[in-house]
Every structure is written in C-alpha cells, then in structure tokens.
C-alpha cells in the first residue's frame, strides 16, 4: 500500500514534457511567419541541414546569436543549410523592433510557447542542429561570441555527410 502511494506520488510530480535529445528525430511542425503571413512547415525542408533556433528580443545572448547565425546562413544556404528562428516574444512589436536593429535573412516564425515546451527547451537561446535525415545532431544552449566557430565545424560536417550520401545514391 505504502509502495503504491509512493509510486503514485512520484508519477504525480513527474514532468510531463519530453526533452528532445541528440539522436532523436525532429518532430514536424508548422508555424506562422513572424514578418510574413506564410506558414513554415518543416516537412518542406526535408533533406536540408537545419538549425532550429529559439530566441526572443529580451534575451541578451540572442543579440549575439542572431547575427552570427545569419553569417553562417549566408555562407551555407546554397549548400543545403537553413536556419529557422522561432520567436517567443509575447509582444510581436518588440520582436519586430529587434529585427530592425539586427536584421537577418533566414526564415522567422512565431510561437506561443507550445513548441519549446514540446521540444524541452531549457534556456534562451537554444538551437537544435538537425541533419539531412531529420535527426538532431547537436543541441546548443546559450550563445557566446566564438560559438559560431564550433557550429560552423558541425554544419560543415553535416553538409559533407549529406553530400556523400547523395553521391552514393
């Protein structure tokens, strides 16, 4: 009886959310655009190396990560790399003001908090690097100057993997 009570108590307090980890497949999602009304669907990006970045205008490190990811996006876009930045601002105007100061060229979508909860985001910003098969290959929490060098190495490796697989087929 006591054991049953303990198990029930533990189940009651167990977290319901599930954190996406390295090796897990990225679940498909569709979110409306932040600056345009077009809905972005990740299933349309299959075969590309993705960086799903969760950010907000009030997040200090995002001031570093957004421009840094823009540089990487411009460099590798033609080779099959895409950044999808998911904005989590409550006030959309603040996000738009931020983007005026830090313009980026990759797709931006907005979310009400359900997506980071679903993927188990633990800090801001958090980025999920996804390979061409749709598997999460790295989770990047926070962002400091110089992190883009590490990300660049990972992106180059994943793009090379994608190229090699394509040439084998």
């Amino acid at each position: 009886m006591i054991l049953r009570c303990v198990v029930l108590t533990l189940l009651w307090f167990a977290p319901l959310s599930y954190a996406l980890q390295v090796g897990d497949p990225l679940p498909n999602f569709a979110r409306p655009g932040l600056l345009h009304s077009d809905t972005l669907r990740t299933e349309n990006l299959k075969g590309r190396v993705l960086y799903i970045d969760f950010w907000a205008s009030w997040c200090g490190p995002c001031r570093v990560s957004l421009p840094a990811m823009d540089v990487l996006f411009r460099e590798f876009q033609s080779q099959g790399f895409t950044v999808v930045a998911v904005n989590l601002d409550k006030n959309e105007n603040e996000a738009q003001a931020f983007l005026k100061a830090h313009p980026v060229s990759y797709p931006l979508v907005k979310d009400d908090g359900s997506l980071p909860k679903r993927l188990g985001v633990v800090g801001m910003p958090t980025g999920f690097l996804v390979d061409h098969t749709g598997l999460v290959r790295a989770v990047h929490e926070g962002f400091r100057k110089g992190d883009e060098r590490k990300l660049r190495t990972q992106i180059v490796r994943l793009l090379e993997e994608a190229r090699q697989q394509k040439s084998r087929q």
């Binding site: 009570c5 009651w12 969760f54 907000a56 009030w58 601002d89 908090g113 980071p116 801001m124 958090t126």
Partner: protein, 70 residues
C-alpha cells in the same frame, strides 16, 4: 488510521509547490526595472560610499579598518 494520515501527508505535500517559470516566459523578469540594481555603475558607487562610511563597523562585510581605501 495509518492510511488516512498517509493520505493527509500526501495531500498536504501536493500543496507545496514552486511554480517553475519556463525560459520563454521570462520576458517580464528580464526587464531592467525587475533587476535588483538596474544601473550597475550607480550600484557600485552607492556600495563604495556605504562601505567607506560604515567600514569601522565592518561595512558590507565582516572586517575593515575604516580607511575606505579599497
């Protein structure tokens, strides 16, 4: 009786919770007016004046000679 007390304890424990603020819900907490010291320079200046004046008493820490020179 034991079951009743156990159930009561579990019920009371379920009332003890700390609401977790998710990282994406910290927008209002991140505002400057929510900081303990919104202005770092003025906070440092105030702290310096305080420990210089109160240094004989230990200032903001346990020790101090009263010179206010650090």
């Amino acid at each position: 009786m034991r079951i009743l007390s156990l159930a009561t304890v579990i019920f009371l424990l379920s009332a003890c919770s700390v609401t977790r603020v998710d990282p994406w819900d910290r927008q209002y907490l991140a505002r400057p007016e929510m900081a303990w010291d919104p202005d770092g320079s003025s906070a440092t200046y105030r702290a310096h004046v305080y420990f210089s004046k109160e240094a004989s008493n230990g200032g903001a820490s346990a020790g101090g000679g009263g010179c206010g020179c650090n």
